[in-house]
Symmetry: C2
Subunit: 376 residues, 2 copies
């Protein structure tokens, strides 16, 4: 029943050596048997089920210690929910524990399909192979479906590759889901007919759990080219499900709403590293791109944290495809050259309010955005 294969998690632990080591020992028990260790008889459970401290060393660039703890792969039942539970279930409630990185064997990667499209697949879908991809959001909430569809049309006309619902648009009376998706789907097709591009419209699928699949199917039929999902709101495994559904077969972009406490905590030594949450876990959960707050915007991510996210989107993870980092939040046309320096070509640049800020001619603003990135 046990293959002997194990996966590992790199944890950062706060405290002095003794305290941090006690935390490591505690993790081994808390995340597995959750049972008085002294009562375990010698044998299978003690040897194979309880986590194992593989290494324990001081962190060199900050306070605290790094522990590598391994677990039998069978503990995960090949389920994302249970994998996450082993990695950070109960210990998420204990202070001073941060998940820095997952180290999974191929056998465990093979339990997950991962991103359906990934970087290469998304480029093929959009027919854009050389430059960064352009991403815009329709807003503000309160506009009618007709007004929002017109924004989709103008963005697509101006050369934006992916035009998404603002992540707060769900099924409000101002722009009900089915009406909005129908009109926006038509708008992007009309624009594509004029430009010859393959721009896609990506509706927001954050919805009641029992309606998500039917909304996604409706969206596909109405011409949506992908789905925007906030795993903090709908659950990481629900996003994985949407990605895996062959009947949908749509690219998924992950939005960070309601997921922030896992990452804002990192500054205090708990939660997840940017690398693990936005990179590794987003890929395990099937996202083809991951939106996160860009450095220097109205959020507080540093340039190094953003670089770690990029690494997390492309470092080797068995058969799992590389995905696009998609920095957003406070992005403006003026900042594009700086961002291209940092991110290069393999990025989806999300400009929200900034596109509207430039001037009153949205099509022209989009074209300016496109012109800037075509220079790369």
């Amino acid at each position: 029943m046990i293959s002997g294969e194990r996966f590992s998690v790199i944890y950062h632990l706060q405290g002095n050596e003794q305290e941090a080591y006690a935390k490591a020992q505690d993790i081994c028990v808390e995340q597995t048997v959750e049972y008085p260790y002294e009562l375990l008889a010698p044998g299978f459970i003690k040897d194979e089920i309880v986590g194992r401290i593989e290494s324990f060393v001081p962190l060199h660039d900050k306070q605290g210690y790094q522990a590598v703890i391994s677990y039998a792969i069978e503990l995960t039942a090949n389920e994302l929910t249970q994998l996450l539970n082993v990695v950070f279930g109960n210990i998420s409630i204990k202070p001073g524990i941060l998940v820095d990185k997952l180290i999974l064997p191929d056998s465990l990667f093979n339990a997950f399909k991962g991103p359906r499209f990934g970087r290469a697949g998304l480029r093929q879908l959009l027919g854009v192979y050389e430059r960064p991809l352009l991403f815009a959001a329709i807003k503000p909430m309160g506009l009618t479906s007709v007004q929002l569809a017109d924004i989709v049309y103008q963005c697509a006309l101006g050369g934006i590759d992916i035009i998404k619902d603002d992540h707060g648009l769900s099924n409000q009376p101002f722009a009900p889901f089915e009406e909005r998706i129908t009109l926006c789907g038509e708008a992007v097709q009309k624009a594509n007919g004029e430009t010859g591009r393959n721009s896609i419209y990506m509706p927001n699928i954050n919805a009641p759990a029992n309606e998500i699949l039917s909304r996604a199917k409706f969206a596909k039929q109405a011409g949506a080219g992908g789905l925007l999902a906030a795993p903090g709101l709908i659950g990481l495994d629900t996003m994985r499900w949407l990605a895996d559904e062959d009947e949908l077969g749509l690219p998924i972009i992950s939005h960070p709403a309601f997921q922030g406490s896992y990452i804002t905590s990192a500054a205090y030594g708990f939660g997840f590293s940017h690398y693990a949450l936005y990179g590794q876990i987003s890929r395990l959960a099937g996202a083809d791109a991951v939106v996160y707050p860009n450095f220097g915007g109205r959020f507080s991510f540093s340039i190094d944290e953003c670089r770690n996210i990029v690494r997390g989107t492309e470092d080797g993870m068995g058969h799992l495809k590389s995905i696009f980092p998609s920095p957003g939040g406070g992005m403006t046309i003026e900042r594009i050259p700086e961002l291209l320096d940092v991110y290069g070509r393999e990025v989806i640049l999300l400009m929200g309010g900034g596109l509207f800020k430039q001037g009153r001619n949205l099509v022209q603003n989009c074209q300016d955005f496109l012109t800037l990135v075509e220079k790369v």
Copy 2:
């Protein structure tokens, strides 16, 4: 399209007066239109869609400020996912913002069914009206289904009211889901036949999103008397869905795994208050009881935080039923009298490893547990 009715959120904001007020203004925009405020024309969107600061005062018992911000109820689309998104979506990624309390009008409470059983319904189901309820977990992971079912049997024989899967048991090869649920369901029925009690077995339903409903239905058919759900793993709205499903009609107990970052953050001035997360939000999401780490155990909750959770489970929330607080984690027989002093009768006491620690006779340990609470 706008009724004029609004709901409010009490936020705690870090910083000096100017910084905290800037945060409040930012929340009003970030959580609604997410659009350059200066570009909004006078009228409907600016007046009705953007959040409104209703009050702003210093916190009296700690650093920082309290802002009450109101939003049009229509922003939520009557969906829990979108309600949570308005309350704490993007701003979860910004430091120094804590959700202290939700204040919803009846019209919004009426959009949610809330707990199906609540305190009174759960008592009726179990046939226990006067004393605290007893709750145990079958463990450690690695035991076979036969062994786990025997623990269910012994616990039920000893008088435990609710016997749950350890929250790490999903579908591992040691005790596969259907086999385990079948045997444990039989075990509790056998014990009930002998004791005349209505003890229930509650399987863990943390599972892949596309399998949750079928597992829940299987569990019900196999004699499960309720479901254990960790909303941090499956999504808060997925728990709400399980609670709402008439075809299931089972009580739900919420487990805090993987949800900890929202609450460990509270000590640093961001995330959720214990009152809001474990109390209010658990009830909106349909839980009939909420498990949380007890004060003085191996986690770090204070007695005041636990008292706030209790208040959150019973304070008025429109038609939503009161639910049981269910403290657990490091609980032992010795601590029961102290806990009864703090919690009184309206509590579900969860003893995990502690029940096994007492001695080798599990039935006797359970009986001791029961005898102690019957003294209340």
